[in-house]
Symmetry: C2
Subunit: 516 residues, 2 copies
C-alpha cells in the first residue's frame, strides 16, 4: 500500500549517535560497577520520565546565548490541564526534554515529600538531552549517572558525595593517582564578589560563567570575559562582565589557588586552600566568605579523617556552570594525558561534577529543602577507560551458526538449533538466501565460534561437521601449505548427530549446563 517515491536519505541529526552491541555491553558493565558503589553507600534507584513541564525544570543551564537554547521544548497538545488550569487559553502548556537528572529529581522529591524517608538518598542514570550546537565529542543526547542526598544540610553529606565519587572512579577502573575530586564552594566566589562590590545578579551570573570556562579558555580568555568581552575563533563576540582591572585581578588571585600546594614539615604536600584564602583575602568581611571557609573546613576535616585527602582536594577554581548550586561544588577530574586532535598531549579533564542545591526543591515548596548531589558523565567515563585501555571492551562471541546446505531441510536445521537452545547455547539457522561461501562469511562476521554443517552426504551417514572458526583462524596463521590445510582440515571435526550438543559444549569449553 506504500507508494514508491524517491528515497529519503538515511541519516541522524548531528549530535546523536547509534550504539553497537559492544558499546552497549561496555556501558552496562560500567553502569553495574557504579551501581555497586552507590548501593554499598545505601542509595536507592529511582527514575523520572524524559519529559517534564518546562516550568518544573527551570532554566539553569550555562551558555544560553539565544533564547531557549539548551533545552528541547514544545507545546503540549493534551489540552486538559490548560483548560482546567488558570491559563484557560485552550493551548497546551510547554513541555521540555530533561536536560539533566537533578531538576527532575527536585520535582519528584517535592511531589512525594511526605512519603519519602528523610534524608532521601537516591541514584538514577539515563539519557539527558540538550539543544546545543553539536560538535566533535559534543553530543545532544548523552548519559548521566547521578546520586543525591536530599534533606541533609550537613557538610558530611557533601563530603560523602566526594568520597563516593572517588570510590566510583576506582571501581570502574581508574587507578588512584589518575583522578582527583576537587571541592570548592560557590560562597568563596560570592565572598570575593562581595569584596569587589559586585551586587548585580546578572553581572554575578556572567562572572560565574566566565570562571566556569577557565579549563577551556585559560586565564587570558577568562580575563577578557570578566572585562569587556571576548571574540572567539569563529568571530562571534561574547560580551563580558565589565569589571575593572583591580576586580579582575582579585578574581584571578582566587583562581590561582588551584595549582598551589603547601609543603608540610614531613616534606609531603597538601593543598591548604582554606588557610591560603583567609591569608590572601584578610580584608574580606563577607558573611558568604566566612560561611565558605567554615563549610570547606568541615568537609576537609571529614575527608582527611576518612583518609581520602590524597584524592579529594580543595580547589578554588571549580565553580560549575549550572546556576542552581548554592554551596559546595565538586568536580571529578582525570589527570592523565591524552592526545588532542592535533596530537598534542592534553589532560583528560572533567568527567562529572555536582554540588549543593538548597534552593531547587524549595521552588516547589513553602520551605527550603537542603540537597546535594554528584553527576557523572557516563560517555566521558567510557571514553576515559578506552584511553586508559582498561574496562570491559564489550566484545563477545556470536552464536553458533547452522548452515543451510539443503533448503528443503530447514526444519532439520531448526531442530539442531532448538536442541542447542535447550542446552542454553546461543545458536541460529542461517536465514538468508545465499550459498555456502556467503554463509561462512556470514558466520565469520557474526563472530560465530562454531559453524554446523550437514549436507546430503553427512545426512546419509547420520553425522554433522563442526567447524571451529576461532581455532581455524588461529591455526591458519601457522599453516604454510594450502594443500596440507585442506587435508588436515584443522578446527573441523565430524560427530554423530546425536552427539551434537555434547560436542558443541566441549568445543566451547562449557561444562554441563542446565538441563532442558
Amino acid at each position: 500500500m506504500t507508494t514508491k517515491i524517491s528515497p529519503i536519505k538515511a541519516r541522524r541529526p548531528r549530535g546523536f549517535s547509534d550504539r553497537s552491541g559492544a558499546e552497549i555491553r561496555a556501558n552496562e558493565a560500567m553502569i553495574a560497577r557504579i551501581r555497586r558503589v552507590y548501593e554499598r553507600y545505601g542509595f536507592e534507584p529511582v527514575e523520572t520520565p524524559l519529559i517534564e513541564y518546562s516550568d518544573a525544570l527551570g532554566k539553569f543551564l550555562p551558555d544560553q546565548d539565544r533564547p531557549n537554547e539548551g533545552v528541547f521544548s514544545f507545546q503540549d497538545e493534551d489540552g486538559q490541564e490548560a483548560r482546567s488550569g488558570p491559563a484557560a487559553t485552550g493551548k497546551g502548556e510547554w513541555l521540555s526534554l530533561r536536560y539533566d537528572l537533578t531538576a527532575p529529581l527536585a520535582r519528584y522529591v517535592a511531589e512525594n515529600y511526605e512519603r519519602l524517608p528523610k534524608p532521601y538518598r537516591s541514584y538514577r542514570w539515563g539519557w539527558v538531552l540538550r539543544n546545543e550546537k553539536p560538535g566533535p565529542g559534543r553530543f545532544r543526547q548523552f548519559m548521566q549517572f547521578d546520586a543525591d542526598t536530599v534533606g541533609a544540610s550537613s557538610p558530611a553529606a557533601d563530603a560523602e558525595m566526594c568520597m563516593m565519587a572517588a570510590d566510583t572512579m576506582e571501581e570502574i577502573g581508574i587507578p588512584r593517582g589518575q583522578y582527583v575530586i576537587k571541592v570548592n564552594s560557590r560562597k568563596v566566589l560570592d565572598g570575593v564578589m562581595d569584596a569587589i562590590r559586585v551586587q548585580d545578579a546578572h553581572q554575578r551570573l556572567v562572572i560565574l560563567r566566565a570562571i566556569d570556562k577557565y579549563d577551556r579558555l585559560g586565564i587570558e580568555g577568562v580575563r577578557l570575559l570578566l572585562g569587556q568581552g571576548r571574540k572567539d575563533e569563529s568571530g562571534d563576540f561574547t560580551k563580558g562582565a565589565g569589571l575593572d582591572a583591580s576586580q579582575v585581578d582579585a578574581l584571578e588571585q582566587m583562581l590561582s589557588f588551584r595549582v598551589e600546594v603547601e609543603t608540610l614539615a614531613d616534606g609531603s604536600e597538601k593543598s591548604r586552600l582554606i588557610g591560603k584564602l583567609a591569608r590572601r583575602f584578610p580584608d574580606i568581611t563577607s558573611k558568604a566568605f566566612d560561611a565558605a571557609l567554615d563549610e570547606l573546613g568541615r568537609i576537609s576535616r571529614l575527608v582527611e579523617a576518612a583518609g581520602y585527602d590524597d584524592r579529594v582536594v580543595l580547589d578554588a577554581s571549580v565553580v560549575r556552570g549550572l546556576e542552581y548550586y548554592t554551596g559546595p561544588v565538586f568536580e571529578a577530574d582525570l589527570t592523565f594525558e591524552i592526545k588532542d586532535d592535533e596530537g598534542r598531549p592534553v589532560r583528560f579533564g572533567s568527567v562529572g561534577g555536582g554540588g549543593r542545591y538548597d534552593g531547587l526543591i524549595g521552588r516547589f515548596m513553602d520551605e527550603a529543602i537542603p540537597a546535594t548531589g554528584f553527576s557523572l558523565g557516563v560517555s566521558r567515563l567510557q571514553a576515559a577507560l578506552a584511553a586508559l585501555g582498561t574496562g570491559d571492551h564489550g566484545e563477545r562471541a556470536g552464536p553458533v551458526v547452522v548452515l543451510v546446505m539443503d533448503r528443503d531441510r530447514i526444519g532439520d536445521y531448526r531442530a539442531m538449533v532448538a536442541a542447542l537452545h535447550r542446552a542454553d547455547v546461543p545458536a541460529e539457522v542461517y536465514l538468508g538466501e545465499a550459498g555456502m561461501r556467503a554463509q561462512m562469511k556470514y558466520a565469520d562476521r557474526r563472530n560465530a565460534p562454531l559453524a554446523i554443517i550437514q549436507g546430503e552426504d553427512e545426512k546419509r551417514r547420520g553425522v554433522v561437521q563442526i567447524k571451529d572458526l576461532a581455532l581455524g583462524k588461529k591455526l591458519s596463521a601457522g599453516v604454510a601449505d594450502n594443500k596440507e590445510w585442506r587435508e588436515e582440515r584443522p578446527g573441523q571435526e565430524e560427530v554423530a548427530e546425536a552427539d551434537l550438543v555434547e560436542a558443541v559444549n566441549r568445543l566451547l569449553g562449557r561444562g554441563e549446563r542446565r538441563p532442558p
Copy 2:
C-alpha cells in the same frame, strides 16, 4: 542568588510516570530474561537515539485524528544542515521523538547497510514516546523491546519471530496455556478487500484501522466503523469507511475465524485457518489472497514441525494498526482473565506484536529490503506478571544504618561504615538532624536489616549494639508483654567494636565475603 517567588506546583504531565527502586529492579529482571532468549536465538543488541529526523521516521501510527498526532515533533535549531541542504531557509528541519523502535532501526540499517552482516539480526529496548491522549493505563512514554531480522524474505524468519516470542513468554514467567502467539497476514485482508472491490488507498487504511479496534470495540463497533461511522462515549464521531452491508458482511466473516477451531480425529482442537479461509472464500481470485495462504501455510508447517502449534496459531482477526506491515503480522496475547475497573472479568489481551515490513527500509534505498520483527510492550508484561503474582517484585533489603548518637563522633560512625563497605556490606551513617526515635523510624522506612548503635556508654566499654530490625519485627508479633520485651530486647546484641563486621555478616546470613 535565586529570587524567592511563589512556589511552582510539583507535577508531571499526564501519561508520564516515575519509577521506584522496586519497579526498576523488577523491570531489569524482566529485561535480562528477554535478552537471555534473544541472545540464545543469536540476536545482537543495537541502540538508536531518542530523536530522529521526522521524515526518517515517517508517519505510520494508527489513530491519527488530528495532524501530527501520535508524534512529539519540533524544529531543529541547529541550522547547519538546513543552511547547507536544499531548503536553505535558515530554519531548522523537523525532528521527532521516536514513537517506536522499528522506524529508527530501518534508518540505522539503511545507513549502515554495507557493513552489516546479512541477514542482520538485532534486538533493542528502550523508551518510546507518543503524543496521544493519555488515559488510565495509557502512557505517553513506555518501554518496548524489539527483535528484528533484516534481509531474510523467508517465512522461516517470521516463524522464528513467533516461536521466539513464545519462548520469551515462558522465560519471563507466563505459563504455557496462559498465552498465545497469533499469526495472520495483511495479505488476507488485502485479498478480501480486492474481492469486495475496495481499491482506494485511504479507504483501505480506514478499514485496516477499524479492524485493528476489534479487540476493544467488539464486532458491533467495528461494523459501524466499516460502515457510516461511530459515535464514542464522549460524543466524538469517527467517520467510517463507507462500505455497504454486503462488504461489511464479508469482512465480518473473515474476522469470525478468530474463535473457530477444528476438532481433529483424536479429539484435539487445531485452528485450521488456511483451509477454512480457502473454503469460505472460494471465489476470491486475488493474487494477494493466494500469497497470504501460501505464506501462512509455510509458517504454519514450520511452527508445527517445531512443536509450537499449541502456542503459535493462525487467527484472521489480527491485523495490527501500524501502517508499515506488508505481510505476516503477529500478536502476543495473554489469555488469562483479570478484573476491569468495574470488577468484571476481562482477558488480559495483547502484550505486543509485530510483522513483516518489507517496504520500510526501502524508503531509504534503491532496492526493497525484506524485514520482520516483534515488539513487546515491557510495561504491559510487567502488569501481567503482577496480575499473575509471578515475576520479580523488585523488593530488596536496604542498607545497614549506623545511628548518630553523638554528633561530634560522626567520623567514628563513618569509620564503621567504611569497614562495612570494605566487606561489601551496604551501609550508611544517618545524615539528618533528628533524634534517636526518628533515626530508628528512618532505618525502618529504608527497610534496613540492621541498625548499629554506639552511645557514650558503649563507646566507653568498646562495644556496639546491633539491632536486628527484621528479626525484631518478627519477634514483636509473639511478645505480649511490654516489660518482657524491654528486658529481653529480642533481636538486639552487643559485640566488641572489633567484631562489628563479622557480627553483621553473621546476622545478615552472609558467609566470608571478598576481603578489603
